[in-house]
Amino acid sequence: MRRIIALIAVLTMVAVPVFAGKDNKITISGSTTVLPIAQACAEIFMDMNPEVNISVRGGGSSVGIAAIIAGTADIGDASRHINTKELNQARENGVNPYENIVANDGIAVVIHKNNPVHALTLAQLKDIYTGNIQNWKDLGGPNLPIVVISRDVSSGTFEVFNTIVLQNEKVLDGSLMLASNNAVATTTAETPGAIGYIGLGYLNDNLNTVQIEGIMPSKQTIQSMEYPISRTLHMYTNGAPKGLVKEFIDFILSVEGQEIVEEQGFISVD
């Protein structure tokens, strides 16, 4: 027992310098959907506070949450809620994930610009992504095979789409599983017959946005959660934010920060 106590004492002595205060640095990693908000806000915040250094990385929601659990990031961005397994793992590691909602978002369903189809139901969308509908002619469109484009299964965007649209059914074999919102937007714009889904901030004039259940994704329909594929975007911290991290998150939630959120194509939280 004396040896155990000695070992703990040595480890405690080594621990003291590590618990010492951090410098003016914030590390952020995670969701590619939240990435533009984090980047834009970090740039402005650093301009306002030149002594502060904020590093922002993507990687996906799972990566952001894993970083909070491992203590390698101050903020973990996620476009989905933390799941029970992650929450359990975090608490076992002494981490208390705290969810800061920084924006609202809708997952827009997009098709090639020349495709005349303008509206789908959730059931039709599910049928497309599970392979039950494979040609646009079955949806009032041209006689053109549907090219299904999805996000990779580790992305938060996929998880939200999977829960709301697919209802946990498997995506059609042979679908293109792409790693980012940008990749989905570009591939859909370049592929006649393509259908994809992306965060609202990635919509552009090269794509047609489809109404879902007769509702177009917009600020009003997403803030009211009327649009069926709506979600909140999060920045996770270990416990309620403190110090510099709190200042940064408070900035994002301020009027100026929420204007940046809207400039990036997302919907403000208020």
């Binding site: 040896r3 155990i4 070992l7 703990i8 480890l11 405690t12 080594v14 621990a15 590590v18 618990f19 990687g59 996906g60 799972s62 990566v63 894993a66 970083a67 491992a70 203590g71 390698t72 029970t84 397994k85 929450l87 359990n88 975090a90 608490r91 076992e92 590691n93 002494g94 981490v95 208390n96 299964v153 999977n162 697919l166 946990n168 059914e169 498997k170 995506v171 074999d173 042979g174 679908s175 599983m177």
Partner: protein
Amino acid sequence: MKKVVLLMALLILATAFLNAATKMKMELWNRWTYEMYDGDVTKNELSLQRGYFRLEPTFGSNISGRFNVDFFSSDKDSDTDGAGLKIKYAYLDFKNLLPLKEATLTVGLMKTYFGTIYEYEYVVIEKDPSDLYKFAASADYGFGISGYFPKGFGNYAIAVYNGEGYKYTGSKINIALNPLVNIRITPVPGVTVGGSYFMKNKNNDQVDGEDNPSREDYTQFAGVMKLAYGPASILGQFLQKTTDKPHDDAYEEKTEQVISVLPVFKINEKFEIVGRYDMYDKNTDVDDEEDGSYDIMIGGCNYNIMRDEKNVPTLFVQVNFERIDYKAEDSKPVDQLMVQLRWIFSGVIN
């Protein structure tokens, strides 16, 4: 059960190459072991201690599988010389099949949810205490339900196994299945307590209608406590196994106990200091100097050279000094220095 697992292994392998999201992972352990006893060098060996090849296919969002093959260059439990191969895992997970929220039904050659063996990540090079002191094998043929309590308050597992572990099949398996219960509670972040209860047995109770004197019944318990704060964590474990031979009147019931403490301190993202202290009492009714009991002390460090995007180390060096201190009078300790290079690569097929 063996045929079911074989069929499942083939199914997983076949579908792995057809499925859109099959994860592949390979992990290799290159080790140098230098052992001394009483001033003499008793081992100075370079080995590929383990190589794990893993496939994890998904069959939609609710069904996934794991198939794991272990490669090794030597194994003390077999006469393999140069290279060996074992199937370690071959199971399917079914989610949302049961009315229980967050519950998973697992069938096949699966994890043994006893103590910490099912989640042990070899922070020190030495095996998990349940494995090292032969309380449980890390995998066994069986089926069970596992899941999480809401809001991160812990997890549970209830399972039934062959009980003999993944290395034994065929005539070495008796007809009794062995139940296990495992529970882990995290009331506040950083404090986890729990335990496991496993009833096992060896050899059939009866042979040709007669009581079998070689029948052995084991009652096993594990108590686990983990404390974590910032970069420091400490895992404590108490294991107890009671062995009885119900049809051998001359046999005296035996109780083995293990106390194991495993502290870890992360200096930074690259470097962590690790330690472990095990006290193994081979028979609580016999003086430690006579029953072959011993303590194990381990001190070392892990240096993470590379991590993946989820911060899991993928290339790292482990350096451990381990002393086995036998309690018997006039015995001398066995000292081992181990240096291990672990490297992991993974990807998604299709």
